[in-house]
């Protein structure tokens, strides 16, 4: 009814000559208006997108405990000196044993196992193979179960995990909380042993408390092959038991067959590491939360740990930040501008309190950049990443004590406080009735106690990409007009099919991108040992030859083809922009941070790029400047270049000429961690970059 009525109203609008003209709806009118003025709006939207990203530290909110059941810090700690002395004894025993014995045995594991069983826990040992996951294109998004146990493994290298389970005295045994302490049983330093001391202290307490509703699992992961692998192997075994006896079980003197024990679904997991000496006066606690593909644990878990560490145990809590940004002058200027604007707003209306001091802004931005970067990379920042694959909320806590590791007097206090922190966290998680679900899963941290939720940070991305469909539509209209004027071909009058030529080219290049993405799998299959740089050269040459073949075989695809076959560049750009838009939007669903950083690079390039030849011919400053900008952006946009720049930005520095090798290693790490960023680079960024290159050298 309502639409009919409106239709009638529309019909009543008459033009001057009396003929009926249907007035379009407001939304359509708005669309037409935006498309007609797309150059202005695209600049405005893109600028607003970048600005929105810059003001994110100002919009960060203080974290709060969202889940009622958690109640952190409401219970008094029950740790006693006896527990601490138990923990200290464990550390002393391990140190003594390691001093007197050398070798590869599993005696240290047995020592820890003995300690656990003395506490009344169920103890078992697990052997695992250090070989991690191999790149396999088909396993990209599949679950962590995809890498199967190799059948004929050698006994030459394997690791042994120890795990102990304390059953909740009156619990239903359906849930558990996991504590992980990675420890290198062969080369582990004194600091690493302290983490065993803290957890040993805690374990001694938990074995006698009456309030447990979830079982406690303490996993001492054998970290001689890295932190991640032992935890991942244990989790795989925990969740997908293999009923086939592996050869690994018979290796060594320790028989671990039929001993693996489980304890229900995991409510949360805490990975504890002690490393290095704190640079500050207080003990420092660093929280690492990023798991694969930018997945984060529930914010409540971080909140609880942060709350207890700051307000109860007096740790200095920090999260990773990009240190080089702290001293960058341009960011400082922006911060000062924001501070001034904030103060001005406060004088205008005392209720407007969005201004923050420049120093806070710098800290926030550096942390935000690190948070964004870690999420975009898609590589977990610690062993907790393995838990996220099973939808278990987990974080890594890295504690740096302020004393040297051999100071006995300080050690007691350190164990007490570390164990109290873990006890409080466990007691909170123990109170939970359901999985963590109340607080955010999608957020960026700007400090341990400040976060930006998905609703806020999406705005920056939405503004950035909003200009793409607008410009695409306007270019398409322009291109169609140009085609109509230039060709007399009656077939060209089928207006709706004009994008087909351009689409063919875009499709061909995306297909090329897909093949390039899959190439490393085949390169890895090439027999013989090759250095990363050799492999990258192999990859580079095959990719470029493939590109040449693509250009040669598909007419009209190459920028160097004759004008007759070539498509109108405006239509090509329109389709390219559409493809980039779709790619970015899809990526923003999979990993927002990647899409955000990708959009920052891709959107300006796509918008600004124009054929260079007419610009050079016209010799006007404006077009020359445009051409220069697009050249610069395209140079930066090349993935290898990008990698080099980001390396420089994060202060890691390049090792001479091995750029190709390093790039290969970097990409290898991406696919080893199944990072969707790798797919994004290969299948969205690279094709769009090539298409922009085609447009730049378009012979129009």
């Amino acid at each position: 009814m309502a639409t009919e009525k409106r239709d009638k109203e529309e019909e009543e609008v008459k033009t001057d000559d009396g003929s009926l003209k249907i007035k379009p709806r407001p939304i359509v009118q708005l669309g037409i208006f935006l498309v007609a003025h797309s150059p202005v709006f695209s600049v405005v939207f893109s600028a607003a997108g970048v600005l929105a990203l810059l003001i994110l530290p100002l919009l960060a909110k203080n974290t709060y405990i969202s889940e009622n059941a958690l109640m952190p810090g409401s219970a008094r700690s029950m740790l006693s000196n006896r527990d601490v002395s138990d923990g200290s004894k464990l550390v002393k025993d391990i140190k003594n044993y390691r001093l007197n014995h050398e070798g590869q045995g599993v005696e240290v594991q047995k020592l820890i196992g003995k300690y656990m069983s003395e506490m009344g826990a169920e103890v078992y040992y697990q052997k695992f193979h250090p070989e991690g996951n191999q790149f396999h294109p088909l396993h990209f998004f599949s679950g962590p179960d995809s890498y199967t146990l190799l059948d004929n493994v050698s006994c030459a290298s394997y690791g042994v995990n120890v795990a102990g389970i304390i059953r909740a005295p009156r619990g239903d045994g359906k849930e558990s909380i996991v504590l992980v302490t990675p420890y290198d049983f062969i080369n582990g330093g004194d600091y690493e042993a302290l983490s065993l001391g803290i957890t040993g202290t805690l374990f001694s307490l938990l074995a006698r408390v009456t309030w447990l509703s979830k079982d406690i699992i303490w996993l001492v992961a054998d970290s001689r092959y890295g932190d991640y692998r032992p935890v991942a192997a244990w989790l795989t075994e925990y969740h997908s038991p293999s009923f086939k006896d592996s050869d690994l079980l018979k290796c060594g003197e320790l028989n671990t067959a039929d001993k693996f024990r489980r304890a229900g679904t995991m409510a949360a997991a805490l990975v504890l590491k002690v490393d290095g000496r704190s640079e500050r006066f207080e003990d420092t606690l660093s929280i690492y939360a990023e798991a694969s593909n930018g997945q984060m644990p529930n914010l409540d878990l971080i909140n609880v740990v942060n709350y207890l560490a700051v307000h109860r145990q007096g740790f200095y809590v920090k999260v990773e930040k990009v240190v080089s940004l702290l001293s960058s002058s341009w960011l400082k200027i922006i911060g000062e501008i924001f501070e001034a604007v904030g103060k001005l707003a406060h004088t205008l209306n005392p209720d407007w309190n969005f201004g923050i001091p420049t120093a806070d802004y710098l800290e926030g931005s550096a942390t935000l950049a690190s948070s964004l970067y870690s999420q975009a990379l898609g590589i977990p920042t610690g062993p907790h990443g393995a838990f996220r694959d099973y939808q278990v909320d987990a974080i890594t806590l890295k504690v740096s004590p302020r004393f040297p590791p051999d100071s006995k007097t300080r050690q007691h206090d350190f164990f007490l406080r570390g164990a109290k922190l873990l006890e409080g966290t466990i007691r909170s998680v123990n109170n939970l009735l359901e999985k963590f679900h109340q607080s955010f899963f999608l957020y960026l941290l700007t400090s341990p106690s400040k976060f930006i939720s998905v609703g806020v940070y999406m705005i920056a991305f939405a503004l950035l990409v909003a200009s793409l469909p607008m410009v695409a539509a306007s270019l398409y209209i322009d291109g169609c007009k140009a085609l109509n004027n230039s060709t007399l071909n009656p077939a060209g009058n089928f207006k709706s099919w004009k994008w087909l030529d351009a689409a063919k080219q875009v499709f061909a290049l995306h297909l090329f991108g897909l093949i390039v993405t899959l190439l490393p799998y085949f390169i890895c299959q090439v027999p013989g040992q090759h250095s990363p740089s050799n492999r990258s050269i192999m990859w580079g040459t095959t990719s470029s030859s493939l590109l040449l073949i693509t250009f040669a075989t598909i007419p009209g695809c190459s920028p160097f083809s004759s004008r007759r076959h070539g498509t109108n560049w405006a239509v090509l750009k329109s389709v390219t922009i559409s493809a980039a838009f779709i790619g970015l939007c899809l990526m923003s669903i999979i990993n927002f941070a990647t899409a955000e950083i990708g959009a920052l690079l891709l959107v300006p390039t796509c918008l600004i790029v124009q054929p260079i030849k007419p610009a050079l011919r016209s010799r006007r400053i404006k077009s020359l400047l445009g051409a220069f900008c697009s050249m610069v952006l395209l140079t930066i946009g090349f993935p290898v270049m990008l990698f080099a720049i980001s390396k420089g930005l994060f202060g890691e520095g390049l090792v001479g000429l091995s750029l190709g090798g390093e790039f290969w290693t970097w990409l290898e790490s991406l696919w080893a961690w199944k990072s969707a960023t790798y797919l994004y680079i290969g299948m969205v960024h690279l094709p769009c970059w090539l298409l922009c290159l085609c447009i730049l050298f378009h012979p129009s």
């Binding site: 219970a75 309030w211 509703s213 109170n431």
Partner: protein
């Protein structure tokens, strides 16, 4: 004509019995804790504390309907297994030996709650789970949980709205299930729950006004949760000073709430309640009328309500007036005794009983009665 007068007499006698002057016969308490989950420990502790108090003040277990939505005592997180405390000093275990929980766990639903109030039960529901009150009953309804504007959450799944409560109370009134009803609610925005009440004889008290929160009183850092709410804590503090014979008035209870200590404003709705609050002892609701009937043998004892009915039904119709007269005659006597013994109804019944016993020549009394009636009828007919 006779018939008319008889009907008038009958009407009079009914009006007399069902009006406000109905005598307070017994006390009931419905105590409801509506929230589950470990972190709502305090709600269960609130309810159990009140259960203990009304039991101490004389309401027997069979007249208390206790509804607890969760079992904190046996929760695995409870550091003191099978015990519930409402104070961090852990001196008083509320979950001792004599706790009879009538509705527990998932049985505590809005439906069951309304069924208890209105008395519409399935046939299979045992008497112990029913509110078997009568028109002379004083009922205390205590509820605690999480509430909001005109609702109270049950089990984190459903809600009791103020309309539902008002409707149930109205039905109770219609069905003569209470004489006086006191509703005490300890939730956030408790006052809003009484907005729709209309039935006379209802007294309502809530822990907070609209827009206010009700807060917990203190945290037990051994158990790790808050163990009692402020409103209930101060209510209990008031009652701890009282014993079964105390004469403290409702007014003194209401005045004992200090908004500063409560951190919310206690709200009373008295417009539906006639008696003057200063004259009503708290034991009218929180205690019990004590009815001790001395009998020689076990089986001759009448139960309070049925005995009256029996007398009415067994007596021939023409004796009715006489019975009324007897009652009227007894009233002054009764009042005198009330001052002394504070147990008017029991005393009256005992007196009546004694007098009936004294009549040895029942036949003459009946004959006299008929003669008087015939005389009255003659006079009235001659006048007309």
């Amino acid at each position: 004509m006779k018939f008319l007068i008889l009907v008038m007499l009958l009407c009079y006698s009914f009006a007399f019995s069902s009006g406000d002057t109905t005598i307070h016969t017994n006390n009931w308490a419905v105590l409801v804790c509506t929230s589950r989950f470990w972190f709502n420990y305090r709600h269960m502790a609130n309810t159990l504390s009140l259960y203990r108090t009304v039991k101490r003040l004389g309401i027997p277990d069979e007249r208390i309907i206790l509804m607890l939505a969760d079992d904190m005592a046996c929760n695995a997180r409870n550091e003191y297994p099978a015990q519930v405390f409402n104070n961090e000093n852990h001196k008083l275990n509320l979950y001792g030996d004599n706790v009879e929980v009538d509705y527990r766990g998932y049985e505590v639903t809005v439906e069951n709650f309304l069924r208890v109030l209105t008395g519409r039960h399935e046939n299979a529901v045992p008497r112990s789970k029913r509110l078997l009150s009568d028109e002379g009953s004083h009922i205390l309804l205590y509820m605690t949980g999480h509430g909001g504007d005109e609702f109270l959450k049950f089990q984190d799944a459903e809600e009791l709205q103020s309309h539902d409560l008002a409707d149930a109370v109205k039905q109770m009134k219609e069905k003569r299930r209470f004489k006086e009803l006191m509703i005490m609610v300890d939730t956030c925005q408790a006052a809003t729950l009484f907005n729709q009440l209309q039935s006379p004889g209802v007294l309502a008290i809530g822990s907070s006004l609209k827009g206010e929160n009700s807060y917990s009183h203190h945290l037990d850092s051994d158990v790790g949760v808050s163990v009692v709410d402020r409103f209930t804590y101060y209510t209990l503090a008031f009652f701890e000073r009282l014993n079964i014979y105390d004469n403290a008035s409702l007014n003194s209870l209401f005045r004992s709430y200090d908004p500063k200590l409560l951190m919310s404003t206690a709200y009373y709705r008295t417009d539906l309640y006639q008696p003057h609050l200063a004259e009503v002892p708290v034991t009218n609701f929180f205690g019990s009328v004590m009815e001790t009937i001395h009998t020689d043998s076990v089986y001759k004892a009448f139960s309070s309500k049925t005995s009256n009915n029996k007398i009415n039904s067994e007596m021939p119709v023409n004796q009715l007036s006489e019975h009324d007269e007897l009652q009227k005659a007894n009233i002054p006597n009764d009042e005198l005794k009330t001052e002394k013994q504070k147990c008017p109804y029991t005393q009256m019944r005992v007196d009546l009983h004694e007098k009936l016993e004294k009549f040895e020549n029942v036949d003459t009394v009946v004959n006299l009665g008929i003669a008087v009636m015939v005389f009255v009828v003659m006079i009235s007919s001659s006048l007309l």
